[in-house]
């Protein structure tokens, strides 16, 4: 009996060690990110991806960091290499967590990085895809503030292009802020966006 208890204790503690290893790793990666050491953070997320083949968050963050880092790059080969890597990791995340709205909107962000680089070359096919991705994400998660905000911003972009009013989308931004306030998320879950929503809302009020 005693032996069994001991065994259980040992098992649990090993398990909790493994758990905390993941948590430690993730926390460390976020700390690096916070210190602007993005490439180190990205590499750590990459290692965690390989060590924890069941978790979708590490590959999601590898992709996120690569996508964010690709905006503003002037050399197409570098851009392409970074976004190819981002796509690879986003695909890993997708296979671990299908129909995940966070991953879907990240895919739209990845496409946006291509469009921002060369609208003529990538705009025609990718902007249609993005519109579809945002609709899909909204269908799955109408209450996810990042999805609501992402779709509103995308719609505003095209409305601005055609000199149309962005007014109808401002309501969505307001709604996203309400949702952000209500939101309670598991640890390490993507939670960005509230500040962005407030910025966008300011533009709404200006116009």
């Amino acid at each position: 009996m005693k032996k069994i208890i001991l065994l259980i204790v040992v098992l649990i503690s090993t398990n909790s060690v493994a758990q905390s290893k993941y948590e430690q790793g993730m926390a460390k990666a976020f700390e690096l990110w916070g210190q602007q050491k993005t490439s180190e953070a990205c590499q750590l997320f990459e290692r965690i991806t390989k060590a924890e083949p069941e978790e979708w968050l590490p590959p999601y963050y590898v992709a996120t960091l690569e996508i964010l880092g690709s905006f503003g790059i002037k050399d197409e080969a570098t851009l392409n290499s970074k976004l190819k890597k981002a796509q690879e990791f986003l695909d890993i995340a997708k296979s671990l967590s299908p129909n995940n709205p966070e991953i879907i909107i990240n895919q739209a962000l990845l496409n946006t990085a291509y469009i921002a680089f060369d609208g003529q070359k990538y705009g025609m096919t990718l902007s249609g895809k993005n519109a579809a991705l945002y609709s899909e994400a909204l269908k799955i998660a109408p209450e996810n503030p990042r999805v609501v905000l992402g779709k509103a911003e995308w719609d505003m972009g095209s409305a601005r292009f055609f000199n149309q009013s962005i007014e109808p989308y401002c309501k969505d931004v307001e709604k996203s802020i309400e949702l952000f306030n209500k939101e309670e998320l598991p640890k390490f879950y993507p939670m960005y966006g509230k500040e962005r929503a407030q910025q966008v809302l300011k533009q709404c009020k200006k116009s």
């Binding site: 005693k2 001991l6 040992v10 290893k21 430690q24 790793g25 490439s39 180190e40 590499q43 750590l44 990459e46 290692r47 965690i48 390989k50 060590a51 002037k74 050399d75 197409e76 080969a77 570098t78 392409n80 290499s81 970074k82 890597k85 060369d118 003529q120 070359k121 990538y122 705009g123 025609m124 096919t125 902007s127 249609g128 895809k129 519109a131 579809a132 945002y134 609709s135 095209s158 292009f161 055609f162 000199n163 149309q164």
Partner: protein
């Protein structure tokens, strides 16, 4: 209890003392240190980044056999499995990834369009926004170097080859009759709509062994894998109407496009040189069904139906009352393909193409009825051994069954001409990257023609070397065989394949949104078909004794960078060609070839108007013709060709576009050649008539409206 406790403590002590240190240096193939590489033990949290000297060191409590991984963007990932104790001061040499955008590209002779391609000459939008192209895929490629301006024909004439020497493939399957039928001197258009395709590759020579039956050029079009959204498209045009719809459900999608074109109102408003008793009328429908059974497989079924009819009386110097041409044509095309990735680097694909075409033609009072049934079966496999070595191989079979009845009105005699032409082809090709800078493609193609029972072997070779970050050199060599055209095969049974040999050298500079390329080539023709009558007829004797050559230089410059909102390209081709074929008495420059060809295309986006303005200009030196009033054959030259076209696309809202274009806005009177009277007049002079386009100018106004769930998409890609 106690011993166990002791044991646990003991183990954990060992555990804490058995830290291994792992260290080394990361360098590239030249020995330069790589900073920022990710170095770690696979499946663990233990790792670090290399510093600016490429050095790394970290500790790990793992034991025994471990895999050390070193990865860095745009390099191949390094992996080594060994006992952890051996990972000390190891030197890691990372090989450059050859699949990056800045790696060498094997592209002598080829222009790529589409976003996947590495060196893009045309972007997807260019097909539909080039002023002179009028939304025709072929029209857009005619602005690239290597092509000749042949406005009376509309097909692709590449590097001194005639239009029959270019083959068009959709998803690897041949399109047997890719062009709409038209009357004399009326340019044709491709049958397919440009928005079906995601990528296009136009090769003006030296192409892969996957493609055969083309002496000069191959245009390979790849259809879109999956549409992104459901929508309905409506098109209202001065020449007709069109409707399209796309549906997506689960792993399936279905798109249909139909159009009806009637030129009667247009010809009433802008009469041309001909008398149309039945103006051009065409109805067409295209549909694509796609099914994706799994992540790695894709089935595409494409079907198109096309009906054309017109009756025209054209001025002809040899016919006092004009020459009547009355045509009814139906074309049915089916193309089905399936591709599947199998894992372990294997990819297989297969496809079937089938065409049924019937024409009922009245020439004056003579009647020609013909029917062609053609099919193409193809299977292809690809094995990727590594990112540096890929092997492609496959086999295909072409069937052509042609039947024609000719009824002569004067005698009421009916003649029947038929032929079967089946070809078996097999090909293999290896893509080898020696490094990021040097790559080669080596292939060979075998073909067996049933009608002549001849076996041809065509070697193909290309080599590319990247000399600097932005420039590269490439060369290509290849032998190409093609069956004689249907018009000869129906009369002659003794013919064998015609042959061309290409030698190409190319230099290319690409930086940001600028591209410059210069390409020199020499093409030798052998076994061209000759006959000894005025036209190819059943009475003529046919032989394969013709030959010829074409040599020249093609220049291309595209710049979308230097002037804001302006994107433009310039193509220039110099062509020196002579051939002895058909019924030529001697070697001469054929009528379709111009020595100098220049194309300038510009697009300017006016943001405040939400309008794209486009302009294209084409210049070509005179074309050869024979003047029976002087001696010599094809030794006279027409005047130079000039044409300026403009267009504008105005985005009314996200979904509504107004499009406007004028071809040959300056109404330049272009001449393609002369038609001489068969008999001289009383002074012994042969009178002549200039061969001119049907109408000097063409106007087009269209309104395009898309209706989709999200109110976002438009038909910019439809124009």
């Amino acid at each position: 209890m106690k011993p166990l406790f002791t044991l646990l403590v003991f183990i954990s002590t060992i555990y804490s003392f058995s830290q291994h240190s792992i260290s080394g240096k990361v360098i590239d193939s030249k020995g330069n240190p790589i900073e920022g590489a990710n170095v770690y033990l696979e499946g663990t949290y233990d790792g670090t980044s290399s510093d600016k000297n490429g050095d790394f060191s970290f500790t790990s409590s793992e034991k025994n056999m471990q895999t050390l991984v070193v990865s860095f963007v745009s390099y191949e990932t390094f992996m080594k499995t060994d006992n952890i104790e051996n990972f000390k001061s190891i030197s890691v040499k990372l090989k450059e990834d050859v699949n990056t955008l800045d790696a060498v590209v094997i592209n002598a002779g080829t222009f790529d369009a589409g976003e996947k391609a590495r060196a893009v000459a045309l972007k997807p939008l260019d097909i539909v926004t080039t002023a002179s192209a009028l939304g025709d895929v072929i029209g857009a490629f005619q602005t690239l170097p290597g092509t000749s301006a042949n406005d009376e024909d509309g097909r692709l004439f590449v590097r001194g080859g005639d239009a029959e020497e270019t083959q068009i493939f959709i998803d690897g399957i041949r399109v047997f009759n890719p062009f709409m039928p038209t009357g004399n001197n009326i340019p044709t258009r491709g049958r397919f709509s440009p928005f079906l395709f995601k990528g296009m590759s136009f090769s003006t020579g030296g192409y892969s062994s996957e493609y055969g039956q083309a002496l000069s050029s191959v245009l390979a079009l790849n259809t879109i894998d999956q549409p992104t959204q459901e929508k309905t498209d409506i098109q209202l045009m001065t020449v007709g109407v069109g409707v399209g719809n796309t549906q997506i459900w689960g792993k399936n999608s279905f798109s249909i496009n139909t159009s009806y074109i009637n030129l009667a109102p247009y010809q009433y408003a802008f009469p041309d040189r001909n008398e149309w008793s039945k103006p051009y009328e065409g109805a067409s429908g295209e549909m694509v069904y796609r099914y994706q059974p799994n992540e790695d497989g894709l089935l595409k079924l494409y079907g198109a139906f096309n009906y054309t009819n017109f009756d025209v009386l054209q001025d002809n110097i040899n016919f006092d009352n004009g020459f009547q041409f009355d045509l009814q044509n139906t074309n049915l095309y089916f193309n089905g393909s399936y591709k599947q990735r199998l894992g372990n680097g294997w990819k297989v694909s297969g496809g079937v193409g089938y065409t049924n075409e019937t024409s009922d033609i009245n020439l004056q009072n003579d009647n020609v009825d013909n029917a062609e049934n053609s099919a193409h079966f193809k299977i292809k496999a690809q094995k990727r051994f590594s990112s540096r070595l890929k092997l492609n191989f496959g086999a295909e079979y072409f069937i052509t069954d042609f039947n024609e009845d000719f009824t002569q009105s004067s005698t009421s005699d009916t003649f029947n001409f038929t032929f079967d032409n089946n070809i078996f082809g097999a090909f293999t090709e290896a893509d080898i990257f020696f490094s990021k800078k040097l790559a080669t493609k080596v292939g060979v193609r075998l073909e067996n023609n049933e009608f002549s029972n001849e076996l041809t072997v065509s070697p193909r070779l290309s080599l590319a070397y990247k000399a600097g970050k932005y420039d590269q050199f490439s060369v290509a060599y290849g032998e190409f065989y093609q069956n004689p055209r249907n018009e000869y095969l129906k009369f002659a049974e003794n013919l064998t394949s015609e042959k061309a040999t290409h030698y190409i050298a190319n230099y290319q500079y690409t930086k940001d949104r600028q591209q410059f390329r210069i390409e020199g080539y020499y093409k030798k023709y052998d076994n061209l078909v000759k006959y000894d009558d005025v036209t190819a007829s059943p009475l003529a004797n046919f032989s394969n004794t013709g030959d010829g050559h074409a040599k020249g230089i093609d220049l291309f410059w595209r710049d979308g960078k230097n002037i804001k909102s302006l994107d433009y390209w310039v193509s220039y081709s110099y062509l020196d060609t002579e051939r002895d074929y058909k019924n030529y008495p001697t070697k001469a420059t054929p009528n379709f070839a111009s020595k100098h060809n220049l194309s300038v295309v510009g697009k300017y986006w006016v943001d405040s108007w939400k309008t794209q303005l486009g302009l294209s200009y084409r210049f070509a030196t005179g074309r050869s013709y024979t003047n029976p009033n002087t001696t010599g054959f094809l030794n006279q030259k027409t005047k130079n060709y000039n044409s300026v076209s403009i267009n504008a696309a105005y985005l009314i809202s996200q979904q509504k576009i107004l499009y406007f274009s004028v071809n040959n806005v300056l109404a330049t009177q272009n001449v393609f050649g002369y038609n001489y009277k068969n008999t001289p007049d009383s002074n012994g002079v042969f009178e002549r008539q200039a061969l001119r386009p049907n109408a000097d100018q063409f106007f087009f106004i269209g309104f395009f409206w898309s209706i989709s769930d999200d109110n976002k998409s438009n038909q910019l890609d439809n124009l």
